[in-house]
């Protein structure tokens, strides 16, 4: 078991890469690529499940570490580790991959080899981001994650503007990451180490630099790169094009996870004081982002673009939780990222399935599908309810935690964000209404004239039901998942240096109340 624990992270990260290499060498025959990719992603997912099964919840902190010297000069270490922040995110990425493969099963008919090889390389890069504890290694995976995604959008995009969308995505993220690299190099020049754990300790002891201005600039470079990847309003310029062009499997992991994790781990970990300093601005931006995303989503007629702006609204919500610096807020934001991955992913899958049938994402072309596709509408409604935060579903827990956390520190902005939540229900339900109810749109009836558009196939059922079940499980058994997240959130949430003691007491009591209240509401639902 020691052996497994020491190498499990390396295995998780590199199994997809090895799989990609194997697929590249295999000939394309029938669905060989699909089966191969499915096997690799399932294996990766099983490996990621090792983490929650063997994580020591009582000890907390970094576990499953492997730490080897990679380069002597500059001192770059191959340092991997997992703690409560990243553990469930890794499982999430592992979980979404097989669904991505299943969703692409027929949607990607041409050039399957390129698609699945890129898809698996993307897996490696993303998993690497979550486990790397050496800043340099992290940066490596961070940049690497950009390449396959860009190519997936550029090659397999839906319309002629796919190259433009890909380029936009790449430039936004690459240029801000270049500044991140300057900041990383500066940190190295000051401290002589890239190791996150060492840097975090030095930061806590205020040993990194005596120049407040330099630290401030470096923290901004970090935050800018991460916020662009999330994206946080107003850095979301790439988002709607990228999402609406990206194939479903890629779009599922395009938004949120990486950037949010990076903010939590590196911005908060290495620049705690500076993060507090910028918190009011971030809170304002994210609260605006929540409402702005929701308002734009309301105005969309394209399903993919609606999802894109809904995602902006959702991830802004998550960042709001982080910068509240309360345990509930941080817990909630991680929880909400997981929810976003699952429910948002399911929504993209559903939209993709509609597109496979009718070749359009325009809602005005749809209508009245509820009669012909009972299964589709059932799952669509479940997903919608989860996304708008109905109690008993996962979204409720996340939203509740974030709002209650943020309300303690920034009540006004939180009220604004709550408006976004209400708007969220509006655009989601309106979308359901426009697609599934009302009269059958004339265009749809001509499209399906003579051809009976089938309801969900077995493969599609297999793709969607596990996600739907997970939405319920995450909604009901939240304490199980929050147990690990809590261990890390406690360390990040605070105690501002000047804060009075009673404030801290209020915070911690609020946290303890939260998991209970969520279970209560869940049980009340039963």
């Amino acid at each position: 078991m020691m052996l497994v624990n020491n190498h499990i992270l390396t295995l998780i990260v590199f199994v997809p890469l090895v799989g990609a290499a194997l697929l590249a060498l295999l000939p394309v025959r029938g669905r060989s690529m699909q089966w191969g990719a499915l096997a690799v992603t399932l294996l990766t997912f099983l490996l990621t499940l090792h983490l929650p099964a063997h994580y020591d919840y009582i000890a907390g902190g970094m576990q499953f570490e492997s730490n080897h010297l990679w380069l002597a000069s500059p001192a770059i270490r191959y340092h991997l580790g997992v703690d409560g922040l990243s553990m469930w995110l890794i499982v999430l990425i592992g979980l979404l991959a097989p669904f991505g493969v299943l969703a692409s099963w027929r949607a990607i008919g041409d050039r399957t080899k390129e698609f699945y090889v890129l898809f698996l390389v993307q897996q490696t890069a993303m998993l690497g981001v979550f486990v790397a504890l050496d800043l340099f290694l992290f940066y490596g995976f961070w940049e690497l994650s950009l390449v396959p995604m860009t190519l997936l959008i550029a090659i397999f995009g839906r319309t002629e503007s796919r190259r433009r969308a890909a380029m936009k995505y790449f430039l936004y993220t690459f240029i801000t990451s270049a500044l991140l690299l300057v900041a990383i190099l500066w940190l190295y020049a000051r401290t002589g180490t890239f190791d996150y754990t060492v840097l975090a300790q030095m930061a806590a002891a205020h040993q990194i630099s005596t120049s407040a201005k330099a630290l401030w600039l470096a923290s901004l470079a970090f935050l800018l790169a991460f916020a662009t990847k999330v994206p946080v309003f107003p850095l979301h310029g790439w988002l709607s094009d990228a999402i609406s062009e990206a194939p479903t499997a890629a779009a599922m992991v395009l938004v949120g996870e990486l950037g949010l994790y990076a903010i939590l781990r590196f911005s908060l970990g290495i620049f705690p004081a500076e993060s507090h300093r910028i918190a009011p601005l971030m809170i304002a931006l994210t609260a605006i982002g929540v409402v702005y995303g929701a308002l734009i989503a309301l105005a969309q007629t394209d399903i993919k673009r609606l999802i894109a702006y809904a995602s902006l609204s959702h991830v802004s919500f998550c960042v709001l939780g982080i910068f509240s610096f309360t345990i509930a807020g941080i817990n909630g934001s991680i929880y909400q990222v997981i929810n976003h991955g699952i429910s948002g992913g399911a929504l993209l899958l559903l939209a993709g399935m509609l597109y496979e049938r009718y070749q359009t994402y325009d809602m005005r072309d749809y209508g009245g599908l509820a009669q012909t596709m009972p299964w589709m509408v059932t799952l669509f409604v479940i997903t919608t309810l989860a996304l708008i935060g109905l109690p008993m579903f996962n979204g409720f827990i996340g939203e509740f935690l974030v709002l209650s956390g943020a309300f303690q520190t920034h009540p006004r902005w939180t009220i604004l964000a709550t408006v976004g939540v209400i708007l969220g229900a509006a655009y989601m339900l309106w979308m359901v209404q426009r697609i599934f109810y009302g009269n059958v749109a004339p265009k749809l009836s001509t499209l399906s004239a003579g051809i009976d558009m089938p309801d969900l196939s077995d493969r599609e059922q297999i793709t969607l039901w596990p996600l739907a079940v997970l939405m319920l499980i995450l909604g009901v058994f939240s304490p199980y998942f929050l147990r690990a997240i809590d261990t890390s959130a406690v360390l990040l949430a605070d105690k501002p240096p000047a804060a009075a003691a009673p404030h801290v007491v209020v915070l911690s009591s609020a946290t303890y109340a939260l998991p209970d209240s969520s279970t209560d509401s869940a049980q009340g639902g039963k």
Partner: protein, 486 residues
């Protein structure tokens, strides 16, 4: 003493002899015979020269031929680099000139002679010797640029390169004359010793500036870059691969030796000059590359930008700056020679693919080649786990250590701009092809030699990108370039 002299020039001697042999053999072969055998002979000559360079490491650092050349880790590093570039170039262009059978022999001999000149440049510690090396390498490359005889573009390239190149060499020679006038010597160590007592300090400064102009032409740093796009566009692809890397590496090596060992006391002056050259080169190269549609022109501008990145490292007046220069030239050689090798293979002697759009669909017809090209492009962008990333990393770290924060920021902004055009090309490779072109793109199957050459580049790009330790170790050994007085 003589034997030590011979050992210290052994790589050059081997290359010259192989070149002469190829030249002598060429007319004896019947006109209809393939010239490949000569190519293989040249390849073995290059390998032997590389082995000889490695062997030199076993001997103590020292000078030969009365202080004309100095063999140290620095010269060996660049010797090996030049050998590797020449090796890959020869492997990937073995049958390039098969259509023009009469020129194939000359081509192999010229490559070897050119390499001899470049090697001489990197080990010379005396300005006249540098000049001789520079001329040998330049004249060979002038001729090679015009190897596609009968093609207007190729002739234009050769003539332009020749005229502007001679002009640049004249600048260099003028600088040599002035410093001889000021210090009474052309040896690096003697110049460094003579500068503090030089009667006319203005001569010294002017002399360095003139030499910088001459070498600036050779490395195509802005504002001396005007010849680059035309020459690269017109010259045969394998030759461009060679001349965008090996002669540049040699010129960078000369610039390092001259700046650090002959003019160390002028550091505050030349580092400003180089700062300006670096920023100009990066911006001119990257911004102009954005506008190009022709692939070779685009890569020409990209090579100007890469020269700018390398110059960034010069501003760090420290050992890690020199090491960064060495490392970057090696990384750049791996990816650039590789990229031109792929272009040679898919485009053929007719240079049938010129525009970026022409490459659409290559990925379906030739998946392995386009994957290799994609890797080289990613490396030029500076994506982690490729050679180009560590190259940029060391260059910018060195500059940052020296306190040039703004230079680093400008450099990174430039690498952001650069990724646009590399990516455009990369995406084009993987775009669907118009079906009418499928036949054209299929091309002839890859020969063993070409496959080996490209594989070498791929492995080098990845190995340097994942385990840069070995090359860095060599580069830091090479960074000790103190001139020995004898």
């Amino acid at each position: 003493m003589l034997s030590m002299n011979v050992i210290r020039l052994l790589p050059e001697i081997i290359l010259t002899l192989s070149g002469v042999m190829v030249m002598l053999e060429e007319p004896m072969l019947p006109a209809t015979r393939s010239r490949k055998s000569l190519g293989w002979f040249a390849i073995f000559g290059t390998l032997a020269a590389g082995a000889a360079s490695l062997w030199q490491l076993h001997f103590p650092v020292g000078t030969a031929f009365y202080g004309m050349v100095q063999v140290d880790a620095f010269s060996v590093f660049f010797h090996l680099l030049i050998c590797a570039v020449v090796l890959v170039t020869l492997l990937t262009s073995l049958d390039y000139f098969e259509g023009f059978a009469t020129h194939a022999g000359e081509y192999f001999a010229l490559v070897l002679f050119g390499a001899t000149g470049m090697m001489l440049m990197t080990c010379s510690v005396e300005l006249l010797m540098v000049f001789i090396g520079l001329e040998i390498s330049s004249i060979s490359t002038y001729i090679m640029a015009g190897m596609r005889k009968g093609q207007g573009a190729s002739a234009e390239a050769a003539l332009k390169y020749f005229l502007l190149g001679s002009f640049a060499t004249a600048f260099f020679l003028y600088g040599v004359a002035l410093i001889f006038g000021a210090t009474g010597s052309t040896g690096f160590a003697a110049i460094a010793a003579g500068i503090p007592t030089a009667k006319a300090p203005l001569l010294v400064v002017t002399s360095f500036a003139l030499m910088l102009i001459g070498l600036g032409f050779k490395v195509s740093a802005a504002p001396f870059q005007v010849w680059t796009p035309d020459v690269y566009q017109g010259a045969p692809s394998p030759v461009v691969g060679l001349m965008s890397t090996a002669p540049k590496a040699a010129a960078f090596a000369v610039l390092l030796r001259v700046a650090y060992t002959a003019f160390p006391t002028l550091q505050h002056r030349w580092s400003i000059l180089i700062w300006i050259l670096a920023v100009l080169s990066m911006f001119v190269g990257n911004l102009c590359a954005l506008l190009q549609r022709d692939v070779k022109r685009m890569l020409a501008y990209s090579s100007i930008a890469h020269a700018g990145y390398i110059l960034v490292a010069y501003t760090a007046y420290q050992a890690d700056g020199i090491a960064a220069v060495c490392f970057y030239t090696a990384a750049y050689a791996a990816m650039n020679v590789g990229a031109f090798a792929v272009i040679t293979q898919v485009s053929g002697v007719k240079e049938s693919l010129s525009n970026i759009e022409d490459y659409a669909g290559i990925a379906q017809q030739r998946p392995m080649l386009s994957a290799a090209l994609a890797l080289f492009l990613l490396s030029m962008i500076g994506i982690p786990f490729t050679a180009g990333f560590f190259g940029k990393f060391y260059v910018f770290t060195a500059a940052l250590h020296a306190g040039h924060l703004w230079l680093v920021v400008l450099g990174l902004i430039n690498s952001g701009i650069a990724c646009y055009y590399y990516l455009r090309f990369l995406i084009s490779l993987y775009s669907p092809a118009p079906s009418s072109r499928a036949e054209l793109l299929r091309g002839k199957p890859l020969s063993f030699a070409a496959a080996a050459g490209i594989t070498l580049c791929v492995l080098a790009t990845l190995a340097v990108g994942i385990f840069p330790g070995h090359v860095l170790h060599l580069a830091s050994r090479a960074s000790d370039i103190t001139a020995i007085t004898h």
